[in-house]
Symmetry: C2
């Protein structure tokens, strides 16, 4: 059975930038599970209504429909125990959950203002107003204001990246000698930026850059070949 993944797409339906969907594309690739992606737009709520909510990623695997990248990862390890694990055991999974929360707060919050205007441009025309309105309500300011303060943004990113840099200076992956779902979580944030923004987040001499390169090249280069900026 080929797993179907609803994957956020832009004005160009081959343009895929959701950090949460990238987690799952990397996870499925890591496990060697065949899958196809279905381009999905933020306002296509009816297409994923079976999942009981309105956000991608959503996967359909035979009779199972699931949403939420963390739940999908747990499901994949459980449903396909004879494939390379995303979590090697319960303790590794609990630690990865900490890294997920770090990523969604510290790293996403640091990257978001840097890329948000480029991200807005990438969305399908029919999604742009929805994206702007929902985010401006959340941030309580215009996207343009949210994106301002150039110097502060880079300083905040540099500070946020410290534990990642220290980790991948000592190990090949956050998961050690092999990537774990923690790698895919954090890598998703970099794919989000790379897909939409020409801004270079880390220099080529940064250990994070080499770590990202390893994941861009992994699994036949599924991430590296995807539409984005070579930054």
């Amino acid at each position: 059975v080929t797993i179907r993944l609803y994957d956020v797409a832009g004005q160009d339906s081959n343009h895929r930038f959701s950090p949460f969907c990238w987690r799952i594309k990397m996870a499925l690739s890591h496990k060697g599970l065949p899958f196809e992606t279905i381009p999905w737009h933020l306002t296509d709520k009816s297409a994923i209504a079976d999942s009981g909510q309105g956000r991608a990623p959503v996967i359909e695997d035979g009779e199972h429909t699931l949403h939420d990248s963390w739940r999908i990862a747990c499901y994949l390890d459980s449903a396909y125990p004879n494939t390379p694990p995303l979590f090697t055991d319960a303790s590794a999974k609990a630690h990865a959950l900490f890294i997920k929360f770090w990523c969604e707060r510290d790293l996403h919050d640091a990257i978001r203002p840097i890329i948000i205007l480029d991200l807005l441009k990438a969305f399908h025309e029919k999604d742009k107003a929805y994206f702007r309105e929902s985010r401006e309500k959340l941030f309580k300011m215009t996207l343009e204001r949210f994106a301002a303060e150039e110097e502060k943004k880079q300083a905040a990113l540099d500070r946020a990246l410290v534990p990642l840099r220290d980790s991948v200076s000592l190990n090949q992956y956050i998961g050690g000698a092999q990537p774990s779902f923690a790698d895919f979580i954090v890598f998703g944030a970099f794919q989000w930026a790379r897909a939409v923004s020409p801004t270079q987040l880390v220099t080529s001499s940064d250990p994070i850059y080499a770590w990202r390169d390893r994941l861009l090249d992994a699994y036949g280069g599924i991430a590296g070949k995807a539409k984005g900026y070579a930054v």
Copy 2:
């Protein structure tokens, strides 16, 4: 063989506040290994000269002398494989390394200005000048200036604590159903504060408070019974 741990002590030799030494006291307790602590002062460099460097924790285990809390933890799992693990496997260990770097940067940096003047007071008279001079050189400002800006400090701590709060809202420990060395690393930062400062870092309704309570009570209450403030 009883393991000997050189443990940073204050003016009162029963006052033990090093976050790095707390990691090891919790780790040894978790593993059920008998140990004794030797009160050690920052300026007693000769007492730990065998370790080839000048900072605690240092352990002596028979013929082995080791320093650095991470290396000591790795040694303990390796030397005592039939005791409860600090790291369940290589991936859990790699993830814990990320959490260590997060803790030492984000959490220690957020707690340090809140407690530093109380910490200075706790040191032995012969250590106070050394502590002040070495830290003022590092921070490039006086300790009093470093400790200023009351509102900023609490806001920085609240922000830093997010991934920890999210984790221990879902799991009993950072390591899941059982504590791992990642718990002891992060707990060490709270013991550092609790030992010297009356400042309450988290309120009693915070999930972090309940997590800390579990570790204060663990292993016969070794941490909870230690000299400190009931905050």
